[in-house]
């Protein structure tokens, strides 16, 4: 039963107030993209046993989507932040690198 802080309304949300919505920072591919790019965008999601960036909606609350950085193996939450970003804030990246030595934010992925 996770607790995630909604960065928009500051509530320490209990999981039942939230809806999980999969990987964050997906790059959309539309008409003009290759089959492989499009498949990667829709289906080949990150599924690490470790640090994961994901989308959540504060559905029983302010209704906003936000992003969370969370460990899928320990459920530790490194932070939550605005969904209107292309990558996690630098200070959050640094915090995670400090806690998980060797971890770095990926290149914004083109495919796979």
């Amino acid at each position: 039963m996770l607790i995630l802080e909604c960065p928009y309304c500051g509530v320490q949300c209990e999981e039942t107030e939230l809806h999980a919505d999969g990987e964050a920072h997906l790059k959309r591919f539309g008409p003009g993209s290759s089959d492989d790019e499009f498949e990667g965008y829709l289906f080949r999601r990150e599924n690490p046993k470790g640090v994961h960036f994901e989308r959540w909606r504060h559905v029983n609350g302010c209704g906003k989507y936000f992003h969370a950085a969370r460990c899928t193996a320990t459920l530790e939450v490194f932070g939550t932040y605005s969904a209107q970003t292309l990558e996690p804030p630098k200070d959050l990246q640094d915090k995670i690198s400090a806690k998980r030595p060797g971890w770095t934010w990926r290149e914004l992925k083109g495919e796979g």
Binding site: M1, L2, I3, E14, D21, R28, F29, G30, P31, G32, S33, D35, F38, L42, R55, R57, V59, G63, K64, Y65, C71, T74, L75, E76, V77, A83, Q84, K99
Partner: protein, 1004 residues
């Protein structure tokens, strides 16, 4: 025999006698008794039968760990199977029955399994019952099922109710013994907001029974003082009869509060499940005594030494006049002393250790108790109760040295910390060789949201024994918990000085005697309820089931209703011994919630009957109910399926509703349709992405039907979009789509196109919406008066704001039936009023409300698709020949790229057509159209399927829509369609528009 003593009974109110019944026999007990103590007081040694061999079972413990004393409690709608007698408080009129026997507890036919035990070792069923093949289901399985199963199934609907409660604390302390009290005090004094819970009705735990002193005074004094102090603190909540049931991620935990189990006639909920968020959890859950593994250790009268002591001291009940004590540790000496003190005989105390008991041994000897070191029980004698004990050397193979008459045996195999709650969420354990137990590894706690530990352990649960060590640990842990919860203590509570007898270390004794042969091992029980013996675990190891999980599953060790509280450590030690490895190498099985079983009623909470789930009602719902509408659930809504009149079948009602609507006037409560405002300078651009159609070109005042696909290309919703003004659109969705589509819009606006200037608002429930349908629709609206609804004044696919009968409305001239039709939106609070006025004004046209089925039939007659019927999440607009609704001009819309993939662009996809049966009958719902031959897997090939099928009262025959391979090119072809009813239907492929192809009816 077991009996009530004249002394002892600190928890009893001997002034209040209580009557209860066991297997129909009336017994007497006292207020304060548990069912178990009261049964013992009435010499009811035999209380049940074991699971597999149906062996006689007696009470073995005094608390939550009891595996044997399970009863069916209560009657009828308050009956509950498998209630633990040791944790059931006695109340007046309590009625219970023993379990798992036939015809009676004393004479159980199932006990034949016991005679056969030698042929029924662990896992025997995996090796036999295989021939003939049908025999498992028809012969063997029924026998196995009938002989298993413990308690009877409840028959009636539960008369009680249950509820939940959310609570938030800095520190939750679980366990109200001296450690829990002290931890709570320490945390509370530091300023933390504290909850202290205790699963029984009493504070203080075991310490008052075990003796010792705190700050120089008896333990009871400390308990009273601590309680008084805690009660006086505003930041402390105290709860008894509340068990810490489970610890979950991020500081979530369940507290299972039993409110009326001890007084079933009291008003209010039976159980309240507390859903707690704790910054820190302290488990002060004590320790559980282990049995010793010797032959006959399961005979009624063989009990845990601590339990025997509890019954004497707390309840003034003796399990027998002559009690042999057998132990590998010092604590059992306390039992011997307590028995002696209350005038009972202890013929011998057998200490498996060759030497080296502490101060308590001296005390025992001084009290005249015969203490034999290095000795063990070779065998307990007796059947349904203990009659004697055969003594041997622990170091040998069991040669009997002496036989002693006894009517009870007190055994102690040492104490295991209760680590369940620590472990539920990933806390790790460490093996303590000196104490011969697993205790929490405080360096590897369960981790919370911040990556830090959120559970701490205090006292005996932490592997601390001896009162002084316990008090010191509890104090430190309480302070540390407050600190970890972010509270810096101004003053730190000092640990009180406590004294208890110094104890020598226990010896690791996993089998008694240590060289016991197969015959004895087959009688040495590990799991009393599931009948798992030392020999079974050894067999599992021998056969390669070496993982502790394999052994557990192969033997069923620890899988009974006590979840191995007594058996697990002994079992895994036996396994380690068999594999010749150290115990830590074997490890433990996983601890899972709940600590002890909790009622499913409590888990469900208040959600039953009328509030099982929210039932959504339209503003006109009451009218439908008054009219006796037949409802169908649509999501959480309930919509009238039809309005049957007296004597009418549903089909007749639907036909009547359709005929009257097509001929004159029908009304539909369409309030459930989703309505979403989309507003902003970029609203048009946004809707162009969302819909396959072009929406930005829609003129204010006009409506357009639109299709929505998901990014994967499939149709997900449809509906009419009205442009309100330059910046504002109102999008209608399907009934099920409102919240989903609103979320979908917000998703794209917030996460992809966040720089677009668009706001949305879901106003679905602001309006009641009434479809006024049929040739008389205009007339009835004109009768109400207030706005221009003429052919020219409000053209097809236009909308207008106005008034009808003085009620403010927005009228959309749209049609889902093919008739002249208006959908009137009205503020929900006026929805019923408008409905009533329409009925009144429509009376002269014989107006008829119609339900969802008539709606479905009429749209099918007209060839309109229905999301959920023609679509199922695998259908794209192209399949439905709706290319007209897919803009060619747009570079992009959601689903466009997906629809370019090879399988989506495949010309062989099945396409929408109409079907009409040759004989007028109705095609079966969901029927498939076979093609010739079979596929590589032997399945018949198919070439299409029916998506919706109805009897059309308008056409007087069966009509259907279907997706058919190359369908539109095969007009007139007759298909053969087998039903599951054995019939084969013949249907001709036709245009899906069956009714008014040119739209003459709706454009009047």
């Amino acid at each position: 025999m077991s009996t009530r003593l004249s002394s002892g009974g600190r928890l009893l109110n001997k002034g209040k006698q209580i009557s209860f019944a066991f297997n129909g026999k009336q017994f007497q007990g006292f207020e304060g008794d548990t069912l178990a103590s009261a049964l013992l007081a009435n010499d009811q040694m035999l209380v049940g039968r074991s699971f597999k061999y149906h062996r006689p079972r007696g009470i073995v413990a005094s608390g939550a760990e009891e595996p044997n004393a399970l009863v069916g409690l209560g009657m009828g709608s308050k009956f509950e199977p498998n209630q633990r007698a040791t944790t059931t408080e006695l109340f007046d009129g309590l009625n219970c029955t023993s379990q798992n026997h036939w015809p009676s507890l004393e004479f159980d036919i199932g006990a034949i399994n016991n005679k056969m035990a030698r042929f029924l070792p662990a896992g025997f069923y995996y090796k036999t019952f295989m021939a003939p093949r049908a025999a498992w289901k028809h012969l063997f399985e029924p026998i196995v099922r009938q002989s298993a199963g413990l308690g009877a199934a409840p028959k009636d609907r539960d008369a009680d109710r249950y509820e939940h409660y959310y609570a938030f604390f800095d520190v939750v302390v679980i366990g109200g013994g001296v450690a829990g009290l002290q931890s709570a005090l320490a945390a509370a004094k530091a300023g933390a907001k504290v909850l202290l819970m205790e699963q029984t009705a009493h504070w203080g735990g075991r310490a008052p029974v075990d003796g010792g002193s705190i700050d120089g005074a008896p333990v009871d004094d400390f308990i009273a003082a601590a309680l008084a102090e805690l009660k006086g603190m505003e930041n402390v909540t105290l709860r008894t009869r509340m068990m810490g049931s489970g610890v979950y991620d991020h500081g979530y935990m369940l507290g299972y509060e039993r409110l009326t189990d001890h007084t079933p006639d009291m008003a209010g909920p039976r159980h309240r499940l507390w859903r707690i968020r704790a910054k820190q959890i302290v488990t002060a859950t004590g320790a559980i005594e282990r049995p010793l593994s010797f032959a006959g250790n399961d005979i009624p009268g063989v009990m845990l030494a601590g339990a025997l002591r509890d019954y004497v001291v707390n309840y003034g009940v003796s399990a027998g006049d002559r009690v042999v004590v057998v132990t590998n540790n010092d604590d059992a000496y306390r039992t011997a002393l307590a028995l002696k003190e209350h005038g009972l005989e202890v013929p011998v105390l057998l200490d498996a250790r060759p030497e080296g008991a502490g101060a308590l041994a001296d005390e025992a000897r001084a009290a005249g108790i015969r203490v034999e070191n290095g000795k063990a029980i070779a065998k307990v004698q007796g059947g349904k109760r203990v009659t004697g004990v055969a003594i041997c050397n622990q170091s040998g193979e069991g040669a009997v040295l002496e036989e002693i008459a006894a009517d009870a045996v007190a055994m102690s195999g040492g104490w295991s910390p209760v680590v369940h709650l620590w472990s539920h969420c990933g806390g790790k354990l460490t093996w303590d060789d000196a104490q011969a137990h697993f205790r929490p590894d405080n360096s590897r706690p369960p981790l919370g949201a911040d990556g830090q530990g959120f559970v701490k352990v205090a006292g005996a649960a932490n592997g601390e024994f001896g009162l002084n060590a316990i008090m010191a640990d509890a104090t430190a842990v309480g302070i540390a918990a407050a600190e970890a919860a972010g509270i810096t203590a101004a003053t730190k509570l000092a640990a009180p000085a406590a004294e208890s007898a110094a104890e020598a270390n226990p010896a690791a004794v996993w089998l008694m005697p240590q060289g016991a042969g197969p015959a004895l091992r087959m009688k040495a029980f590990l799991d009393y309820q599931n009948d798992v013996k030392v020999s079974d675990v050894m067999l599992a190891a021998q056969e390669g089931y070496e993982s502790v999980e394999h052994t557990k599953r192969y033997t069923t060790l620890g899988m009974a209703t006590d979840q191995g509280k007594l058996s697990n450590i002994n079992g895994l030690a036996t396994l380690a011994h068999s594999l010749n490895v150290d115990i830590p190498q074997v490890g433990t099985t996983t601890f899972r919630p709940p600590y002890t079983p909790i009622s499913l009623g409590a888990i469900a909470g208040e959600a039953r009957d009328e509030i099982f789930q929210p039932l959504r009602r339209t503003p006109i719902h009451d009218w439908h109910e008054e009219q006796g509408a037949f409802f169908e659930p649509v999501g959480h809504w309930r919509r009238p399926y039809c309005f049957p009149r007296k004597g009418e079948t549903h089909a007749q009602a639907v036909s009547r509703e359709i005929n009257q609507t097509r001929e004159a006037l029908g009304l539909l409560d369409a309030s459930t349709l989703g309505k979403i405002i989309v507003k902003g300078p970029d609203a048009g651009k946004f809707l162009d992405m969302l819909y396959t159609n072009m929406m930005s070109t829609l003129k204010p005042g006009k409506c357009r039907y639109g299709l929505m696909c998901n990014e994967n290309g499939f149709l997900v919703d449809d509906g009419v979009v009205a442009r309100i003004d330059e910046d504002t659109f109102l999008c209608h969705t399907t009934t099920g789509g409102a919240d989903r589509i609103h979320g979908h819009m917000e998703d794209w606006l917030q996460c992809e196109w966040w720089d677009w200037k668009v706001y949305t608002a879901n106003v679905t429930e602001e309006y009641a919406q009434i479809a006024v349908v049929g040739p008389k629709a205009r007339e009835v609206l004109e009768k109400l008066g207030g706005m221009d609804v003429s052919k020219e004044g409000l053209k097809f696919m236009e909308w207008a704001d106005g008034e009808l009968a003085g009620i403010p409305v927005r009228a959309y001239r749209i049609s889902f039936s093919g008739e002249l039709s208006y959908e009137i939106a009205v503020p929900a609070s006026l929805g019923r009023a408008l409905w009533d006025k329409l009925l009144e004004a429509g009376a002269e046209f014989n107006v008829m409300p119609y339900g969802t089925e008539a709606l479905h039939v009429m749209r099918a007659e007209k060839g309109f698709i229905m999301i959920g019927d023609e679509t199922d999440g695998t259908v794209i607009p192209q399949d439905l020949n709706m290319q007209w609704a897919i803009s060619k001009k747009k570079e992009d819309f959601l689903g466009k790229r997906a629809q370019m993939r090879t399988h989506m662009a495949d010309p062989n996809r099945w396409k929408l057509v109409g079907l009409e049966t040759l004989d007028g009958s109705v095609l079966p719902d969901g029927a498939y159209v076979p093609a010739g031959g079979t596929n590589a897997n032997g399945q018949r090939n198919t070439q299409g399927r029916v998506t919706s099928t109805y009897h059309s009262p308008t056409l007087g025959k069966g009509i259907a829509m279907a997706l058919v391979h190359n369908g539109p090119d095969r007009m007139g072809e007759v298909l053969e369609i087998p039903g599951t009813d054995g019939k084969t239907y013949k249907a001709r492929i036709c245009d899906p528009v069956f009714y008014d192809k040119d739209g003459e009816k709706q454009n009047v």
